[in-house]
Amino acid sequence: MINHIDLGTVLRKTVCDLYSDLVTRPTGAAVRTGIEQQLAEAKDRTLTVIDFTHVGLLDFSCADEIVAKLLVSYCEPSGDRPGSGRVAPPRDCYFLFKGVSDSHLDAIDAVLQRRGLALVAKGDDERLLLIGTVDDRERRAWEAVTRLGRAVPADIAMEVGVEEPQAESLLATLSRRRLIMRFDEGYVAVGAGP
């Protein structure tokens, strides 16, 4: 199931119908709550497109409240391990960010780096972009999955130049971080479709 959430609309509905800028923490928290209410209605695995097209300014505080905290709630960062005590994500949600301008990107990248998070955005040219904190092998593996469309560990082992168990581990990490989706035995990049 694919959800589309227009942040401009959520902002006007939840905070003030005159606003087009995502600034301040209270505004960000209200918008995130609006998004979470929509996500709560989803039953199964969902891909949610978070659309920044109608957002003017995004400041660091608001980016942290909306983007970073949403990812923290729904994604499992690479550092987390089973048994760490972390509560499982409330839904099997994946996020694709679109309509992200260069100035939005400044704020988003800063808050992702701060918390060690990453996300997938779709550029104006429809290309997928990996933004935030990823190490070199994770990035190469993600790029390979994106290029191939659908990949299994053996494909990634060949593309990245690692042993198959390592490739499997890389894919599992990217999947936990909600940067790729698992379908049966294979993986596809978020936003690329099955």
Binding site: Y19, D21, V23, G56, D59
Partner: protein, 295 residues
């Protein structure tokens, strides 16, 4: 008895210290009169800091307006008297407040106490900033959004940490003596709890540790420490630092008895000043210079 405090002819972040030096020996409830009759010019920092000063006095202070018509008229356009009248006993000729029409007043003095105020400030600045930063200061159009973000984060320090309202003003002018170029300045001043007390409220510092205004400023500005435990906090000042660094600007924050500065190559300021005359709250000054060649 009323003590007369002389406002220097040219009032900016540096010369405002002479006002604080005059105030330092006085009790907070002692009546003072700020004598600005001979003032000829004031930066946005100077104007907003005078309002903050009034907020810090237990006894309502008096204020003598500048005698020079053009100075008083400019302060009126910057909306200084509009707010000063609520804080001072006014003396002298106070021009009627008019809307700011001069192109160099990017944002007239505006009170900030809640999230909605930040939305308003950001909304008002964007269209003007676009024209002035790009055309007059030769800044990359990409600088405009960053400028508004910086302004937003600076104002949010008041909302999130000060515990009481403050003031913001933005203005461009030519810094002939110090730089020989135009600059845009953001001044955000409040009379709230200040950095030291704000950080103390959550950190539970150990006894015997050195802890003062200078250390609090270093923690907040250099190490991005926040009073909140949330890992995502403390990004506002970090973002301001990045913006200032990218556009060769200067960031200076005074709180309590200390002042910290991120000093660019064109300035000769010191990175940290201690044992200044005490002044409550936090006073933030961001200066972005004109680029000598378009970028």
């Amino acid at each position: 008895m009323t003590t007369v405090i002389n406002v220097p002819p040219s009032l900016d972040d540096r010369t405002f210290e002479t006002i604080l030096q005059q105030l330092a020996p006085l009790a907070p409830d002692e009546k003072v009169l700020l004598d600005a009759r001979h003032a000829r010019w004031a930066s946005p920092y100077g104007l907003t800091a005078m309002l903050v000063l009034a907020q810090t006095r237990a006894e309502r202070p008096a204020f003598y307006a500048p005698e020079a018509e053009d100075t008083a008229s400019y302060w009126a356009r910057a909306q200084f008297f509009r707010y000063a009248e609520g804080l001072f006993e006014m003396h002298g000729s106070v021009p009627r407040a008019r809307a700011a029409t001069e192109s160099d007043v990017l944002l007239e003095i505006t009170p900030v106490s809640k999230s909605e105020d930040v939305h308003e400030v950001v909304g008002r600045i964007q269209s003007k900033a676009q024209a002035i930063l790009a055309k007059e200061l030769n800044l990359d159009p990409r600088a405009t959004m960053g400028f508004a973000m910086t302004l937003s984060e600076a104002c949010q320090n008041i909302v999130e940490h000060a515990g009481r309202g403050g003031w913001v003003a933005v203005q461009t002018y030519r810094w002939q003596k110090r730089l020989g170029r135009r600059v845009v300045q953001i001044a955000v001043c409040d009379a709230g709890v200040g950095f030291r007390q704000s950080l103390e409220s959550a950190q539970g510092r150990r006894g015997g540790e050195r802890w003062d205004d200078a250390m609090a400023l270093e923690d907040a500005v250099i190490r991005s420490v926040s009073r909140f435990r949330d890992a995502g906090r403390g990004q506002g000042l970090a973002g301001i630092r990045r913006y200032v660094g990218r556009w060769e600007g200067k960031l200076s924050i005074r709180s309590g008895t200390a002042r910290i500065a991120i000093v660019p190559s064109w300035d000769e300021d010191v990175p940290l000043e201690e044992q200044l005359p005490p002044f409550p709250g936090a006073q933030v000054l961001i200066t972005i210079p004109e680029r000598s060649t378009p970028r």
